[in-house]
Symmetry: C6
Subunit: 273 residues, 6 copies
């Protein structure tokens, strides 16, 4: 199994398996739609190519989709399932308040560590945050963008192989920055869109019995504005938590929370909605 296999090849330098595990909620990945399996399979193909194709010593892909759609969780899952000896998360969380030089230094150290392993995967999470993007201006850390561009194209040293998986909720930002085309491939991660998918997520959460599930769904569908769900799985799981606070009235409570989320996702001028 994976855990054992992993233990065996664990190299001396830092592996952030735990950090990546933290990106997955306890319930793990819920296969609420065939897309999910499809995404994981695309990931698996890339993982294999980097491991096996002598020419593919560097491969880069970016997962993009609306906020909370599960990009980080899916990238983490692909990375953890790769069973590569070096697995690392590059996240804005550990660079709060870093200036450009510190960010670049941090990134370079992670890539240098990766170059020491024969087979490595780096998850570059939330790229718009890593580059400090603000739409007003617009402002961003150009030196960090440039460093990313170079690192995403720089061949690892002889005999080493590297897979980079980025995530972003702002594809158009990455396109404007010319960062998007620096990835070999891109993988779209959707929201939960149909009521069928929503029901799947509710079942997967284990919080509803069949009757209250149906009741909640019915209530949502009565609202004529709600022709599709269009809410990320992350918020749906939060809303289930909120509903759980009111055990006597879970379906209503959940419907109320979902209605608000769905309203917001309608208003948001999000590029993915």
């Amino acid at each position: 199994d994976f855990d054992r296999a992993f233990e065996e090849v664990k190299p001396a330098f830092g592996v952030s398996e735990d950090e990546l595990q933290d990106c997955l909620s306890q319930g793990g990945i819920i296969h609420y739609s065939p897309y999910i399996q499809n995404i994981l399979e695309q990931g698996s193909l890339i993982v294999n190519q980097v491991r096996d194709d002598p020419a593919a010593t560097l491969y880069t892909g970016v997962l993009h989709g609306p906020p909370g759609s599960g990009k980080t969780a899916l990238a983490a899952k692909i990375a953890l399932d790769s069973e590569y000896p070096f697995i690392k998360l590059l996240t804005p969380n550990s660079m709060i308040g870093f200036n450009e030089a510190m960010k670049i230094g941090h990134m370079q150290r992670i890539f240098e560590d990766a170059y020491k392993s024969t087979l490595s995967v780096i998850v570059i999470d939330n790229i718009e945050r890593i580059v400090g993007w603000s739409a007003i201006g617009p402002r961003f850390d150009n030196a960090v963008v440039q460093a990313l561009m170079i690192l995403l194209k720089k061949q690892p040293p002889n005999g080493r192989r590297l897979l980079c998986l980025g995530t972003t909720s702002a594809r158009s930002v990455l396109q404007q920055l010319d960062l998007f085309e620096h990835f070999d491939t891109d993988i779209a991660v959707p929201s939960v869109n149909t009521y069928n998918e929503l029901a799947h997520v509710m079942q997967g959460s284990g919080a509803f019995d069949e009757q209250s599930l149906q009741q909640a769904i019915r209530e949502l569908q009565e609202n004529k504005h709600n022709d599709r769900v269009g809410v990320g799985i992350k918020r749906i799981l939060k809303n289930i938590g909120t509903a759980r606070q009111n055990p006597g009235d879970m379906p209503n409570e959940f419907a109320r929370a979902m209605n608000k989320s769905m309203g917001e996702s309608n208003i948001q001028t999000n590029e993915y909605s």
Copy 2:
């Protein structure tokens, strides 16, 4: 009662109960409208969820409304009523003249302290001031905005739970900065709008007898421009203070002051008016 309960769980690291208490005037919260109770109940629900829902280890909300509408007082009230062991105010007042790095360091320290407690609430007051927003340019401390974005989304360490309550008089600024959508929920705080509500505030202040109250209200309503009040409770309380300086002519004095405030709130191109 609260004070005792609080004493018991007081942790070693800094708790700014006093600082938050200072945000409430001596008269406390005046329930001049059902909205006020409603806001406090929304706060209470969130407080409970963060305490009880195993999945909701991080919850963030922002109180927004016109200047002086009572956002800070209400956020402080919710925080103080939470009875959480860690309660902290993050305010621009203690960051005057800080550069971006110092601001971020200060914020990080407060969040680090919060992460040490099992259950914490941080009030992030006057966010447009924390990020140094000026409409001319526009200018703002982008690194501070980025740090806030990350901190508002970063999961506390295992077993720790965190509630963040922001306040702002500039919702549209937060929206432009993409900060608004980084909060899980938002709570609108209104001005005092009807004459009924105004009368309620006047009674709550204990400064007027019934007759002088009616006289002042009548005087205000005679001004045909004054179809609604539209003044924040903070200024109303200040105006009551001004009127008190002239005990012989309180109703007139108060009406005069209110007329000026109501005129200004008509002119102001404020997004909430």
Copy 3:
């Protein structure tokens, strides 16, 4: 009397009574129009409220008007007449060449000193200069603006009371910067506008006998462009000085100087003209 009263309460930390006295010319305030008395009374009301109203622990007002209209002198007069134990002038003159951090440090020290006294008044003179405003760009010290915004809203510590009186010749600049609405009240200071008022100032200066006064006024009125005076008292007093250089021809000399000043004030695209 004031001088004695003041002596008695003089606190240990710096009081800039002299500095404020320097803002008044030797002739003192000339009551050339009822507006002047009205402004001083508005000031006096505020002074009383801050001293007496338990709720008004912080009050802020801004005097605004065309260049040389007497804003600084009137603010200084109000402050000196307040008989508060702590009186301080915050002026760009003592911050020449300061960078943002130094300016903010200087301002903070003055406010800290004020917070040590039970009752304090700070005159913040020439705010557009303190914040380094230039219309080209526009450019300004944003950190200084932010610090001012916070200081103007920050409650003094328990038991301390603070009055802040700002002055500016650029109300619209302060409005653009959102600084204007950070003051509780604003007081407009006019130019000398009617020939009656001008005659009043000339009398007050003691430089003209009745005949030469009338002669000068007549001469000015003959110029059909001069339907109103529209010149600040500061320049009028300077022009009287210039005329005095030519004792033989004072009325003409004065009229000539005034004509030039009035021409300029017509041309200037000043927001107050």
Copy 4:
């Protein structure tokens, strides 16, 4: 032969023959079109002129073309084939995170080293990355641009001769920056455009037998959007690698990958497509 010749003249200071060799994949240059030979011949002419023409002590040329078209490989090939005693690669890869001063220092050191040899070639790879270009703003390291402009025009010391070969995927950027006209000549590097050329590349890769080659080509041509290939050789070689992962279904797998690449190159608003 080249290797021996090179060994003999190897000077003391750094020669990055290996680094340049790394720019060529193991299969080397595939002559999929007469253009390739033509480019190499143009390079050879310049190489000879710098070696032999007493007046041409400095010659500069830039290879430009769409991403992945083989610019770096061709520049490296020309440099390696020059048999000059000093061969050096100036690449953004070794300047990640450098600030302007460090970049310029690094560049100057390389040019100084070159000036010490009687005959030198410097490959300046990926110039848009060296100058840190971002289209948003636009932003770039102006001091680096200026330094490049000067270095590209500065005569080597007496008796020394220098050839500079730049590469870029962003000709229009270099033109906007006035850098393009600082080169004596420019050489266009095309994508693989016809199906004939594509077949040539596939053969050259040695991965396909004749039948599967034809099958893949046929499949691609059936897609009516695919009237021309328009994909850089770099990606084509990557796609061959991907197809190789699925030995049972190589033609299909390759066609699928190529279809995606061709779609992207249609969408991309690239100046070369």
Copy 5:
């Protein structure tokens, strides 16, 4: 006489009489037009007022006019003729390469020195250069502009009197910067405009005999584009120098040089032409 008077009152701290003398060419001021006398008289009036009017402890004026019209020479003349004990030139020449802080420090030191004398005059030469103005951007040293604004309005200490004379070829720049209105008065300095005035200058230079003078003028007037001269005295004196190089053909040589200067002054989109 002046020299002796000056010696007697020479204070310890630096007086730049020499520096100011250098601003006058050996021929001194040529009174080619009544304007010149008029300018000097205006200066003299101000000089007297600052010396004698008890209220005029600070007076500021700015000389403005086209390039080379003699602004610096005239300001120097007024200052030297003032016979004030403290005379100082504040010039960009001694601040080459100074950053904002150094410039401001230098200016402050000069003003501080002036404040030590009972009666002082400071010539602030070429203000657009002191503030580092460039029309592209536009760019300028805002902190220097702010410091100048404050210094031009700051009262000298008790008993001290100060006259400031600025010069500029860019009145509209000073107006844009709001610096122009910070001067109490402004004095326009014209070009040499009529052929009469030109003849006057030529005579004053002592380089022409009557005949060659007439010949040169005639030659210039034959050019129908030359309806007015419109050239600053500085260049005219330079042109006379050029002509002198060719003693055999002075009138022609001078006419040729003048024709070129007059052509340029026609083309220049100068605000004064």
Copy 6:
């Protein structure tokens, strides 16, 4: 002769005769057109005036023209022929990577050295590069521009005389920067424009016999787009070098190279073409 004369007056401080000599190719100046002589004579006149006219202690001129037209060579020639004791080249080549302060320091040192000699000439080469001009933004080192403006107008100390000769390929840039009008005179340097001039250059190079010269010219003229040459002498000399590489086919090779250069000079939106 010049060499001896020069030796005799060589001052202690640095004279960059060699550096200037390097700006002239071995063939020296080719008089391909009467313009060339004319430019040198204009230079000679100025050289004489600075040496002899007591009033002309400072004279500045700028040579401007299309890239490669020979500006630097001609300025160097004028300077070398001046036989002044101090001759110095101020070139961007020796300021690569300098920041503004370093550039200004370097320039000041050169001017200071010049001020030590009684008679000096400074060639300020490639001014647009010295000020770091980039059309995007536009960006430039404003402090360097300001320093140049001041240095170009600053009188040398008593008894010293200075001639400054600038060069630029970007007259309009210097005009935008207001630098152009800071020169006393400007001298235009043309491209090689007629086929007659081209033939002259070819002869001057000594590379062609009469027949091959005619053949090359004829071939060029057959191309109907080539009504005028419009190529700088620098490139023409380079093209001759290229042709020389192919001795068997010089006329054709030269025509080919020239055709390309002439095409480029047609396309270039250069202000001089």
